[in-house]
């Protein structure tokens, strides 16, 4: 499989997952069948896991809250951080889990219907997991930019309609 092509396809889909196979094929100068097969492989190899939208939740009428939680854990022999991470990410409320360098170990993002629900999750579920030694919970107040997308982008079309 052509690695350079895989990267280009992923790059385009990551920016805009709605691009059709035909459009991608034209943009990269490849046959549509080649692109279809490349995407198929990317999906089978779990390089591409899902196609989803970047949403500005603030524009919707929801009370949902997001918390970013720094978690310190005791790594375990042979499995390191992986088994604790697994125990954490299986909770439905947990949207992301990453191992971090620095002052804490795991960064966990949790989404709940309201603050109480998130607090309860942290105190009752997360903090009580064996080998979790400390948690620091930060409630997310506003997202300005996520995954390369600026939410209140005011850079509209400012060019003149026709220029030489």
């Amino acid at each position: 499989m052509n690695d350079a092509l895989r990267l280009k396809v992923v790059d385009l889909l990551h920016d805009n997952a709605k691009l059709s196979i035909d459009t991608i094929a034209k943009m990269l100068g490849e046959a549509p069948e080649v692109i279809a097969e490349t995407i198929d492989r990317l999906e089978k190899d779990k390089v591409i896991l899902r196609y989803s939208a970047v949403v500005n939740w603030d524009k919707l009428e929801t009370n949902q809250v997001t918390a970013v939680i720094d978690v310190r854990v005791l790594p375990q022999r042979e499995v390191g951080f992986d088994s604790i991470a697994k125990k954490i990410y299986r909770f439905e409320e947990v949207k992301s889990v990453s191992l971090m360098s620095g002052g804490y170990d795991l960064q966990v993002t949790v989404v709940g219907r309201d603050i109480r629900e998130v607090s309860r999750f942290v105190s009752e579920k997360l903090a009580t997991i064996e080998n979790v030694t400390a948690t620091t919970t930060h409630f997310l107040l506003k997202t300005y930019k996520s995954d390369g997308v600026i939410f209140d982008d005011t850079d509209g079309e400012r060019r003149l309609m026709i220029t030489p």
Binding site: L12, N16, L19, T23, K26, M27, L28, G29, D155, R159, L160, M161, I162, T163, P164
Partner: protein
Amino acid sequence: MSNLYDRLSPIVTNLPPSGIRRFFDLANQMQDVISLGVGEPDFVTPWHIREACMYSLEQGYTTYTSNRGLPELCIEIAKYLTKYELTYDPSHEIMVTVGGSEAIDLAMRTLVCPGDDVLIPSPTYVSYKPCALLAGARVVDVPTYAEDRFRLTADALERAITPQSKALVLCFPNNPTGAVMSRKDLQDIADVAVRHDLFVISDEIYAELTYDGVHTSIAALPGMRERTIVISGMSKAYAMTGWRIGYIAACEPLLSAMLKIHQYTIMCAPHMAQRAALEALRNGDDERNKMVESYDRRRKLIVANLNDIGLPCHEPRGAFYAFPDIRPTGLSSEEFAERLLLEQGVAVVPGSVFGETGEGFIRCSYATSVELIEEAMRRIGTFVVKLTSQAVK
């Protein structure tokens, strides 16, 4: 008082008005127009460059600079030009101008005077001819053709040369055709230029936007340095059109002559914009390369779509324009552009605006989003199908 207009300089009153003006006014009155008529990048200048300008204002860099531009900027330009095998002394052979536009004017006024001919390949960007006329020269069109992918050929050039021929303008990668000249193509032209002792004004503003290969400057070829004025700038490569920073590289006698005009008419390019250009040249390569890659993808998309629609399109190897052949529709390029705008709300520029041999073609800028390109192509497709079905009836 007699008619004011009659008392103006005939050189100015005889200048033809810009051919795009009518389309501009028409398009501006309409709603829901998709414009493929814009001759500038669709990116905003990268933030680090804008930020560098703001910082320079905070630091109080609001004075004149040296006439030739900030010395450190001239040094960065000289360094940058080495990638095209061009070696210029930043203290004597480089100057910063108010966009490539000022550079074109300076070059013309420095090289030609009444009685001289300027050779301008056609179709091409609209400013060379008026600048040559304003300098008092006569303009001789040198046609380029779709069959040659709009490259200038030595044959066509030879045929156009007169005893009065003084200077040749080159604009490659070309606006509006996207044509690019290979080293071999340029060598053929250089041979003619040397044989007929021509100066060359080489506008290389689109040099970075060369796809499938690296741009070659004619000034890098043997015997050309002392007869070539290289013009470039920040506008296209770094999405900095509104900053108006261009530059000229030329051997010392030519440069100092141009600098004289610049001293008296301009003083210097805006200081804060020069600071921004400095940041762009020092730290802007990554973002520039990303923009070029993005143009390249859209280039392939638009060319494939135009060919699918039945408007044959040669492969434009540079700049950000496709220049499809609309002769299969039976319309002139003006008619095509006007009807396309009125009936489908897509603005393009008729090729005839860029010179006689542009007739039968339209310029479509692909410096716009993939979504808009595809919607514009759907509309052009509908337009062309309607035209051809009418023709069958």
